[in-house]
């Protein structure tokens, strides 16, 4: 039986599951909205994966990433739990080996990663504002009554440029409403929004950095042709969108898992293990005036993980159990 490696990326908006083979070819990819239920989404994704792989493949390693990486890692028994910046870079380097600049825009954060000789040399993540992220586009599409899938195409039909304030979501929204009242068309406003998002991204993340081609654009928002066009206009260069742009984080996690398990057995708990009930709960610790909200995950009545405490008191307790 040949070896497959699983990568899981649990983000704020989507949960992605992929499987790759020894050579790094993608065998399976799955993208689903998290909808605030990471456990259910991961279970669903893994079930689909199981059906797809049938019994022809042996799971030799599993990695998790994304903001839900800890929880997902515990659920599946991950060999590696990695931050999304490293995971994204690893995957991009595999598909575009000479990549120098990676733009990544996800549901609730956006990042820029600079690469040299296949190594990450610098990166930045958005700081305070959601204006440069997918959720904001989602929200505006909904407000304008457009499906997010059609958003980009519609933007490309715009005849005139409209400048929309993109510094902050609140200002952008009121500016959009004002421009609507002036009589601009939906397409023009959406196009203006795409440009505002890119401008904001560049000002916020790329400030002070020297950007070199090839440029790769990935993350859920890369599906939006309007944003791609805005990027190309802003930097005056072609932007590559990789085939699996929406699941790059998961692919990176799978690649990292492959590296990690070399010469040892995987910690993967097996497909059947996902049938067990994972019960997350939280409580306020009254140990000191920090009043941390501690998150606790139970499996079959036994606590398998705890986090969220600043002092590490609860985290340590679980380590002792295991």
């Amino acid at each position: 039986m040949r070896n497959a490696y699983i990568g899981i990326d649990v983000g704020s908006v989507s949960t992605n599951v992929v499987a790759i083979n020894e050579q790094g070819d993608v065998l399976f990819h799955y993208y689903v909205r998290t909808n605030g239920q990471p456990i259910e989404s991961v279970k669903k994704g893994i079930e689909q994966l199981k059906d797809h792989l049938c019994n022809n493949w042996n799971v030799a390693g599993v990695g998790t990433t994304g903001s839900g990486r800890q929880l997902a890692g515990i659920m599946v028994g991950a060999d590696v739990v990695k931050n999304e910046i490293t995971a994204h870079a690893v995957a991009t380097i595999q598909f575009v080996p000479d990549v120098r600049t990676i733009f990544e825009i996800g549901g609730q954060d956006s990042k820029i990663i600079l690469v040299k000789d296949q190594m990450v040399v610098d990166f930045a993540m958005n700081t305070v504002c959601a204006a440069g992220t997918g959720s904001f586009l989602d929200h505006q599409a909904e407000r304008l009554g457009i499906k997010i899938e059609d958003f980009g195409k519609l933007a490309l039909t715009a005849k005139n440029d409209v400048r929309i304030a993109g510094r902050c979501t609140v200002f952008a929204e009121s500016d959009m409403i004002a421009k609507q009242q002036f009589g601009f068309s939906k397409a023009e406003i959406i196009n203006g929004l795409c440009q505002a998002l890119v401008r904001n991204y560049m000002n916020n993340l790329a400030r002070g950095k020297k950007l070199e081609p090839p440029f790769v654009f990935q993350g859920g928002v890369a599906a939006n042709v309007g944003i791609k066009a805005a990027f190309e206009k802003e930097i005056g260069h072609e932007v590559i969108i990789p085939q699996y742009h929406h699941v790059m984080g998961a692919i990176g996690a799978a690649i990292l898992a492959r590296e990690e398990v070399k010469g040892r057995r995987t910690n993967f708990r097996g497909f059947h293990a996902l049938q067990t009930e994972f019960v997350p709960s939280s409580f306020i610790c009254n140990g000191c005036s920090n009043m941390c909200e501690v998150i606790k995950v139970k499996v079959n009545g036994q606590t398998v993980a705890m986090w969220g405490d600043r002092c590490g008191m609860w985290q340590e307790k679980v380590k002792q159990i295991i």
Binding site: N83, I85, V121, F123, S289, N290, R310
Partner: protein, 366 residues
């Protein structure tokens, strides 16, 4: 009088000094969520993060019965110079009647400095005061040595969390010390405790050393900087800070003939980037980055309170330093809203970046 002080770093030192001068000392609780909530509620919205935390600390100390606050001033065009004035007004408005004794650098206003000392000294002789100061200074020097040692070995501990526990115990023991003999004993015992921590062996070339630079309060106080030294230790990095209390006292309080300081040298290293003194620790931050690089450190984490003016300036020259000296720098801005998960991701990715670069370099040369 019941004396208190801002909570920053190894607080047993301030406590010890004030106790030796015969005061009843009220140690404010370690800054917690409650402290921040109080501080944010009663501070001007645009005051910086240290101001707010200290505000909360003062209120908690006043609740515990403090009547006098001893603190340090700031220099240059940094808001820290205003702190005591504004804090005092806010406390007064809240109905706490407290006195402030503010120590600025001795070299700036010698008379005022001595007047403050006289206030605190009470009926003790000058000889006693000098002895007390020397004693606590020696104590903090010993503690800082152990502190540096602790964060050098933390990444290699075999039992997770043991090093942190040992450090806490050492501080408790130093807290009990009142005589020179006891100090010597505590030092010996501390050394022994650290030596007995079981460690993993690691290749010298694989060690990752991170320097922490930035504004003094967020660099020195673990409870408000996400315990960054610990976090980095757990990620496998040796850590050294740009600020230690003993150095600060050395540079700001001691008469010239008593000190041997590398402060001037460090400031000079920063001069190509920030020429003049712009307040806060901006110049110091830049100088320290260069200094850490020259000492062979692999990366720098730069901490600043959100909206801190001097550090914003150092932040904007950092890309140049980073390029010229070929050292990666990660700037983290901290305030009461800091989402920890987000910063954690940044720190992890930053360490990955450093480790990968380093390992590759290592395999190339091997």
């Amino acid at each position: 009088m019941n004396v208190t002080f801002p909570y920053m770093g190894t607080v047993i030192i301030y406590k010890k000094l004030l106790e030796l001068l015969g005061h009843h000392v009220i140690v404010p609780p370690r800054p917690s969520q409650k402290t921040l909530d109080l501080g944010v509620k009663y501070s001007p919205e645009f005051a910086c993060f240290p101001f707010k935390t200290i505000m909360g600390s003062y209120i908690e100390a006043c609740e515990l019965g403090a009547t006098t606050i001893v603190t340090s001033g700031g220099h240059g065009p940094c808001r820290a110079g205003f702190y005591s004035e504004i804090h005092q007004r806010i406390l007064k408005e809240l109905g706490y009647n407290v006195d402030f004794i503010v120590f600025d650098s001795y070299f700036r206003d010698k008379e005022r400095f001595m007047e403050n000392v006289r206030k605190l000294k009470g009926n003790y002789s000058w000889f006693h005061v000098a002895k007390a100061i020397k004693f606590t200074f020696d104590m903090i020097r010993e503690l800082d040595k152990l502190d540096r040692w602790i964060h050098r070995i933390k990444p290699y501990e075999k039992v997770p969390g043991l090093t942190k526990k040992v450090w806490e115990e050492i501080q408790q023991q130093f807290d009990q010390v009142t005589t020179r003999r006891e100090l010597k004993k505590a030092r010996k015992k501390g050394k022994k405790m650290i030596e007995s921590i079981p460690l993993q062996e690691i290749d010298h070339e694989k060690r990752i050393r991170i320097g922490i630079v930035g504004e003094i309060y967020v660099v020195m106080e673990p409870s408000i900087n996400m315990e960054i030294e610990n976090v980095l230790g757990e990620l496998g990095c040796e850590v050294e800070r740009s600020h230690y209390l003993s150095e600060w006292i050395n540079d700001n309080m001691l008469p010239r003939f008593l000190k041997h300081s590398d402060e001037e040298e460090i400031l000079k290293k920063g001069e190509p980037f920030i020429e003049i003194e712009i307040g806060g620790h901006a110049k110091h931050t830049v100088g320290r980055i260069v200094d850490f690089k020259e000492k062979g450190f692999d990366g720098i984490i730069h901490l600043m309170p959100f909206g801190c003016l001097p550090e914003l300036i150092s932040q904007s020259v950092i890309p140049r330093i980073s390029k010229e000296y070929d050292i990666p720098v990660l700037t983290l801005s901290l305030d009461e809203q800091t989402g920890q998960a987000n910063n954690r991701t940044r720190i992890e990715a930053f360490i990955d970046l450093i480790r990968n670069t380093k390992l590759k370099k290592y395999t190339y040369t091997a």
